[in-house]
Symmetry: C2
Subunit: 266 residues, 2 copies
């Protein structure tokens, strides 16, 4: 059993110190509650609604040496995994990233592949498929926010063995939370979406962070407004049962030989 | 504008004449209501819960020469498209098929690729990707029932230009109707699921046949029990707008170069 949770936060645009303090507080609270796996929202260090490249640069940091990363790394040192969205700088470019810290170590960074709306102005899209990695005998996949609308992403994570998809988000469109139920069912995986809340420069975020089961049950869901920390104790190995009927395995029943159009749509 | 509808029926296992009469009545009723595109459920000629290969053989027919096909073909001759699930015999094998009849002609047959549960005993899985075809300046895609759980299927249909996915079904699991909303959103297509109702040899079917829009709206949905004919007038070209934001095209934003695992999961 692992205690898997999210911190539904309200990062403030251009207020790095506030966001650092918010993350520290959330981590301390999660640790007191013996949460094993804690997921923070997308761009939790920076806020979301940038108005210039200068703002992006000012709020970005190097992973894992930046101040926000160090908070997450230190927070994870007492035997936790912490995943968070981070406005990342690497070289001369900026990325909408998610990083995982396990037991005081930086484990992995994923750079968001499918950028949403004006993110295309600020960020370079990632050029690697979403990662799957191990921690405490379980397998975790990462994707970020708008990646949800591309069923290919959750599918690749499931094919690669993810038992749960950790999904930092800053959701604006109203569809994702219900769609993640479908992502769970079609892949027989757990999903955890950690969303932000609040109104930022006219953009409203939708909260309702949630954890779903491989059977499409919503195990816990936060409110649409208000910050909160919630968790659920789950046996991630339940996601290894891919049989949706006695005779149907949701992955082995796929017919890849018929799916060529997915990678050659020309 | 096309008037697109479904006949939510209750086919009876081993009662070919009853099923023929039910289809004839539904077609007559749809024609009176000036329905342009009518979809009947999966295996509408045969019923669903077979107990032996002999039963499958007894209820199967050749497309388009069998009696059920002829009813559909004749019904379509006054300027309609009629799609139905048919228990098909071809050569020495049996297929869970969907056939489309347009303006009195047999247009296309699709043989279900992803067989559900005990269907694996009775039917040979289709070996061709799901088809997209034109009628009255619109583009239609076909899939059958359990194909819904494989997001690859709706995706291929959308990539191939389907504006609406016509989806005969005999649904047993409770997930599909909500999942089809996600299929609509992620592909920006209309979907029409024509489901059956009733209890057959201990198996309960879930009704709630529906039409969804590219924005994930449920335009019409039937009850969970009771036969009915429903329709909605839609401009299928709305499905050509793939922009979910000003900057995001749900198909062109895909990154096929990163999706190799979908067809090479070994």
């Amino acid at each position: 059993m692992l205690r898997v949770g999210f911190a539904q936060l309200e990062p403030k645009i251009m207020e790095a110190e506030t966001n650092l303090a918010g993350a520290e507080e959330a981590i301390a609270s999660a640790r007191e509650s013996n949460v094993d796996i804690l997921v923070l929202p997308e761009l939790a260090n920076s806020g979301y609604v940038f108005e210039s490249g200068d703002e992006v640069e000012a709020m970005s940091e190097v992973i894992p040496d930046g101040p926000f990363s160090r908070i997450l790394q230190r927070g994870s040192s007492s035997g936790m995994m912490i995943v968070s969205g981070i406005c990342e700088r690497f070289g001369h470019v900026f990325s909408n990233s998610a990083a995982a810290f396990c037991d005081g170590e930086h484990a992995i960074t994923y750079r968001k592949v499918h950028l949403f709306d004006r993110e295309n102005h600020w960020f370079e899209a990632g050029d690697s498929k979403p990662p799957v990695f191990d921690y405490r005998d379980a397998r975790f996949g990462l994707m970020v926010c708008f990646d949800w609308i591309f069923p290919e992403m959750a599918r690749i994570l499931a094919i690669d063995g993810a038992q749960i998809i950790l999904h930092p988000a800053n959701l604006v469109l109203p569809y994702c939370q219900e769609a993640m139920i479908t992502r769970s069912i079609e892949n027989r995986v757990f999903t955890l979406t950690s969303n932000r809340v609040g109104l930022e420069r006219g953009i409203q975020f939708s909260g309702k962070s949630q954890v779903t089961s491989p059977k499409g049950e919503v195990l816990v869901r936060a409110n649409s407004s208000g910050t909160s920390i919630d968790w659920v104790d789950i046996d991630l190995s339940l996601a290894d049962d891919k049989m949706i009927t006695k005779r149907n395995h949701v992955l082995k029943d796929r017919k890849p030989e018929m799916y060529g159009r997915l990678i050659d749509p020309s």
